[in-house]
Subunit: 99 residues, 2 copies
DNA sequence: ATTATAATTGAACAACTGTTCAATTGTCAA
DNA sequence: TTGACAATTGAACAGTTGTTCAATTATAAT
């Protein structure tokens, strides 16, 4: 057991930060919804039955994590997935759950 | 956007619970270390430079989540990975980080 | 029996997280 | 410019989380 070498602590932090972000039902729902295409904040709020404020706060978290990007169009702001890996990870995790 | 159907909320909870567990540096290190084979609590504590108590608490979380199993042998308790999917998910997540 | 080592437990504490609320910014239409 | 709508922001709050500490259980050796 002496010679086990841990990965770079920076890598490890990035990994756990990533999982931390995925570890929230609201954010998972947002990502799931955006899988189908871009949606504006109001639509997402209606879909999840939450306030626009709460949704906006979480979208900000997802954006900082570079999991989504946004585009302004008139009064609306449209959000879309920004990473093709997320779908793969969700699928792997689902496999894990469903056994 | 009207007809987006969310996954079963139970499935979603299981998913976010799983990610929540992965979203902690200590637990990630424990899983990483156990990738190489089974280790007892004291070894893990020394490896991560933490108290046995803290490690034991986190191992309990991992055990309840069925990510590890344990086996008693004399005064020691040996822990081992209990799920072959975890490694795959870690790899996918690493791919995501490293780009 | 006694002592020493390994591990677990539960309470307590500080740190962090997600939602709410009220206020604010930005954009369009009248 | 005024009013209405979309979205963002920051402070505040309750709820959750991870580690520490002290006490306890369990096993092995003397």
């Amino acid at each position: 057991m002496e010679n086990i070498k841990m990965p770079e602590s920076e890598t490890l932090n990035e990994l756990s930060d990533f999982f931390k972000i995925m570890g929230d039902g609201t954010r998972l729902k947002l990502l799931w919804a955006l899988e189908t295409g871009e949606l504006c904040v109001g639509d997402l709020a209606a879909l999840l039955n939450m306030t626009k404020s709460a949704v906006s706060h979480q979208l900000k978290v997802l954006k900082i994590a570079k999991l989504v990007r946004n585009r302004k169009c008139g009064k609306n702001v449209y959000y879309a997935l920004n990473d093709h890996h997320v779908k793969l990870i969700l699928e792997k995790a689902l496999e894990h759950i469903c056994e």
